[in-house]
């Protein structure tokens, strides 16, 4: 039988998704369903003097209006689920509706439930809220300054956390021949999955059970958090997320909104649905990035890197989101040395409260920021010592014989072959020819540039022991149950919660190959806490790595049991039975065999099972990895900069990634393409902007530049294959590599194009206006 793993099997989920048969949260329609709308603060910082809901409540069709006062004491506050150790994290209360003070534009103030969504929406306009506005602060460094507006009484100076990590760098920096210093701004980004958030809740009084359909990347984490906030025991709570239209990290968090909907459904004993609109999404769904980083890189004059020091100021927003505190600390600070050999490194991070939308994971989550600064610093270092950035990389990238390598923060990079990926990428561009052409064009007043990003990342989150050590308030293992039905059809229950990544296909490929059965005999069940006992969800490029390994382990257990039954049927001992292409037979004897289906039916009939073997054929596995996985690669971007307009065009893009063995090359290519354009979005186009009063002025697609297909050349991809040494299927995550690698590749290329102008660095996004002004300024000065 031909193997499916490694082949571009078409996505099984797409037929239903692209023909309108998906089952998204907003598709759920329940008898008697009511609709919720949330009134959001138009002020960034204000005291609520009064809320008059009388007129709204009196509107025909309005069922009930809730305010923060109504819920105080009935609903708990929304906690953060990541408490980095020794960070003095200020766990300030986050009420589901603001009670006395609103702290960002979008903070919930009241909720209307009505018979009809339009009535609910109109009723919002009838609620009269009297505010006393307070001074607002949106910039994290300004928020830390003396005299800045204070957001929370329990967080003096607006400092939410202060975390340091690394070894002693003083001596190395004191003695270094070269120290390069640069400050970077990682602008705030607004994740925009195709499907906004939504929640539908139903309470069944007969069984006292509450069911919440939800746009979530991690239904079991949501169940755990909702249980605590609402005071409903977990066994009476069910969270369902069948189809979720993308998340990119923005659907990890537990938001006040789903708590409100769940509460109202029980309070009213009536199903309640809430669906976010896009304008609401811009202000009320978590944002990403938003750091200032002060970076120092030490090295020798001949090009050996010796150490890095990073001081970062991360904007947490007005409250701590679910994974918010872990993103700018653990997921960033531990890997700022990148793929380079460095004896010393340190990170110091301030997390700061401001009057802005809370921040949380956004594709890559911390690792794009880390990769951006080290890849930019390597280029600046090369420039300082007058070497080619490619040569500095060759010199300092870890060599294959240096693995396992423990970085200065204690991360064990267990495997890698960075030079192989770099060499492969260099076969896809003609570097010397590009440099010649660049010089020739420059003489004609045309500017082109080339940029490298030789990255490594840590992903495939767990292990759980590490989760505990870094303050993540959950486990990071994954569950799988493989249930073989009497007819030989297989259902796989996974605790991972794919929401666009295509694991219904890739997981099926694994299982079909392992069992030697057609892929159509396998179904993947996910996203329902009543069908899957426990799991930790999909984020951190962990689903194939941890979820896939759990499934593979469970399938092995099914095969072992089936082998004992087959041996009994074939009247040989289990050790002598081979399982190949779906058939059991004694080693070397092909004419006596039992197919997988024949064994399965015997397992269920149980008329004649071997001694000590129980009926049925089903196995579970709870897989906890022993390390992260460390995908790596080389991305090379070529750009041209229009000297008259400052517009940057990406003219060629090459990505060589190593995610271990590729289960489905088409799906991996899709992940890589999507990641790359998202990363280039940060480099060139995107950026959330608040005005001085804390108003989000980029609150729609008219004002916030989403990348479009026409902005990009055909992306050229290739792979090297270095299997993870600890993962049972050898895989490493690939969901975030594109976003992690592409941002610095493109910015390095633009800076290379502008090198003739003596421009060392420009902060992102590199919009035409910014680039044009920078070139203009240099020309004016000359």
């Amino acid at each position: 039988m031909s193997k499916l793993v490694g082949t571009p099997v078409k996505r099984r989920e797409d037929a239903r998704l692209i023909t309108g048969h998906g089952n998204f949260t907003d598709d759920v329609r329940l008898p008697g369903q009511a609709y919720a709308e949330i009134l959001r603060s138009p002020h960034a910082h204000a005291r609520i003097l009064s809320i008059d809901t009388t007129a709204a409540q009196a509107m025909p069709g309005v069922v009930k209006v809730y305010t923060g006062q109504d819920l105080a004491g009935r609903v708990g506050t929304v906690p953060t689920a990541w408490i980095p150790p020794a960070s003095d994290l200020k766990q300030v209360p986050h009420a589901v509706l603001a009670v006395e003070t609103v702290r960002y534009v979008g903070d919930g103030v009241a909720m209307v439930v009505a018979d009809d969504p339009y009535i609910a929406r109109d009723a919002l306009d009838r609620i009269v809220v009297e505010y006393q506005t307070l001074p607002a602060v949106t910039d994290q460094r300004e928020a830390m300054a003396e005299g800045a507006p204070q957001l929370h009484a329990d967080a003096p100076g607006n400092v939410a956390l202060h975390w340091t990590v690394g070894n002693d760098t003083d001596e190395v920096f004191a003695q270094a021949e070269v120290v390069v210093r640069q400050e970077f701004r990682q602008q705030r980004l607004i994740p925009n999955p195709m499907e906004p958030r939504a929640a539908t809740a139903q309470y069944l009084s007969a069984t006292d059970e509450l069911t919440v359909w939800l746009t979530t990347q991690n239904p079991h984490i949501h169940r755990l958090l909702l249980s605590g906030i609402l005071g409903i025991p977990e066994h009476r709570l069910r969270v369902i997320a069948v189809d979720v239209g993308g998340g990119f990290g923005s659907k990890i968090a537990c938001y006040p909104d789903e708590v409100l909907v769940a509460y109202a459904a029980r309070d009213l004993n009536r199903p309640v649905k809430w669906t976010e609109d896009r304008r609401e999404h811009f202000m009320a769904t978590t944002h990403g990035r938003d750091h200032y980083e002060e970076v120092e890189l030490a090295g020798s004059r001949d090009g050996v890197l010796q150490g890095i020091r990073v001081k970062s100021y991360a904007n947490m927003g007005a409250y701590l989101s679910t994974a918010g505190p872990g993103v700018p600390t653990i997921l960033f600070g531990l890997i700022v040395n990148g793929a380079y050999r460095m004896p010393v490194a340190s990170s110091e991070v301030f997390g700061v409260f401001t009057n802005t939308t809370p921040t949380d994971a956004y594709r890559g989550a911390g690792r794009p920021e880390a990769t951006y600064i080290i890849e930019r610093m390597v280029d600046l270092f090369a420039q300082t010592i007058g070497q080619d950035p490619l040569e500095v990389r060759r010199r300092n990238l870890l060599r294959a014989d240096e693995f396992p390598y423990t970085n200065p923060f204690g991360l064990a990079y267990d495997s890698g072959n960075y030079h192989a990926a770099l060499d492969q990428a260099l076969t896809m561009v003609d570097y010397p020819a590009f440099r010649q052409e660049q010089a020739a064009l420059r003489a004609q007043g045309q500017y082109v540039g080339i940029g490298f990003s030789t990255y490594v990342e840590m992903c495939g989150l767990g292990p759980s022991q590490v989760a505990g050590a870094v303050g993540f308030q959950g486990g990071l293992w994954e569950s799988a149950t493989v249930r073989v039905h009497p007819s030989g059809k297989v259902q796989v229950f996974t605790g991972a919660s794919p929401h666009g990544q295509g694991e219904e296909t890739t997981f099926s490929q694994l299982v079909a190959d392992q069992l030697g059965i057609p892929i159509d005999d396998v179904d993947i069940v996910h996203g329902d806490t009543a069908r899957v006992a426990m799991g930790w969800g999909t984020y951190g490029s962990r689903t194939m790595v941890v979820g896939g390994a759990a499934i593979s382990t469970a399938v092995d257990r099914v095969i072992e049991k089936a082998r004992r039954i087959a041996a009994h049927m074939l009247e040989v001992s289990p050790e002598d039975v081979v399982f190949e292409d779906g058939v059991f037979h004694p080693e070397g004897v092909l004419d006596r065999q039992a197919t997988f289906a024949e064994v399965t039916i015997q397992a269920y009939l149980a008329w004649n099972l071997p001694q000590g073997v129980e009926p049925s054929l089903e196995a579970s596995a709870y897989y906890d990895p022993t390390n992260f996985t460390y995908p790596f690669g080389t991305h090379i971007a070529q750009v041209s900069v229009d000297a008259d307009t400052g517009e940057v065009r990406v003219t060629k893009y090459v990505a060589v990634d190593d995610c271990g063995p590729v289960v489905n090359p088409m799906i991996v290519e899709g992940q890589v393409h999507g990641g790359i354009v998202q990363g280039i979005g940060q480099a060139l186009y995107e950026g959330a902007v608040y005005d001085d009063d804390g108003q989000l002025v980029t609150g729609s697609f008219m004002d916030y530049t989403m990348p479009r297909a026409r902005f990009f050349p055909q992306i050229e991809t290739a792979h090297t294959v270095t299997p993870s040494p600890h993962n049972p299927i050898g895989v490493k995550g690939v969901g975030e590599t594109g976003t992690i690698a592409s941002t610095p590749a493109v910015v390095n290329a633009v800076m290379d194009a502008l090198s003739g102008f003596g421009i060392q660095h420009l902060d992102m996004p590199l919009t035409p206006e910014k680039v044009w002004r920078a070139m203009q300024q240099v020309q004016d000065e000359q």
Binding site: H43, V105, D125, V128, R279, D691, Q695, S700, M702, D703
Partner: protein, 147 residues
């Protein structure tokens, strides 16, 4: 958002002042202003209909005329809440006699918040100047009609 400009009105400063502080004239001349009800002390309850980009609706709030110096200057403050958020205006108006009548100068700040601030922010100052232009144009027309 900064509001600043001037307009020549063909009438004396005293008459112009009278027009600009007459609720009936304001309801006629100010685009979108539907109602002004005096509540005393130069304060009015006001209702306006406005649309910016996709955000349209009725704003309810108040308007005051403060620091009034008859025929010379006053300070106009307005605040309204509506479906897209809020609008707040704080503007100083001065009147000075010229050969063609009165030179009306205004300078101040307008703030918008909530959804309306996040949509088409870059168009807002253009929209505001346009509305101010329409308003003072209409006042000038009133002045011509009641010489």
């Amino acid at each position: 958002m900064q509001l600043e400009g001037h307009k020549t009105i063909p009438s004396t400063p005293d008459r112009v002042y009278g027009l600009l502080t007459d609720p009936e004239v304001l309801v006629r001349t100010m685009p979108g202003l539907k109602r002004m009800t005096p509540t005393g002390d130069g304060r009015y309850d006001a209702e306006m209909e406005m649309g910016v980009a996709a955000i349209r609706g009725r704003y309810e709030g108040w308007m005051t005329i403060e620091d009034a110096v008859l025929g010379q200057s006053y300070r106009l403050r307005m605040e309204g809440q509506g479906p897209g958020g809020f609008v707040a205006v704080d503007m100083a108006v001065t009147l000075s006699p010229t050969d063609e009548g009165t030179d009306l100068r205004y300078v101040g700040q307008a703030k918008v918040g909530g959804t309306v601030a996040g949509v088409g922010q870059r168009m807002l100052s253009g929209v505001a100047s346009f509305i101010m232009g329409q308003f003072f144009g209409a006042v000038a027309k009133e002045a011509r009609q009641q010489p």
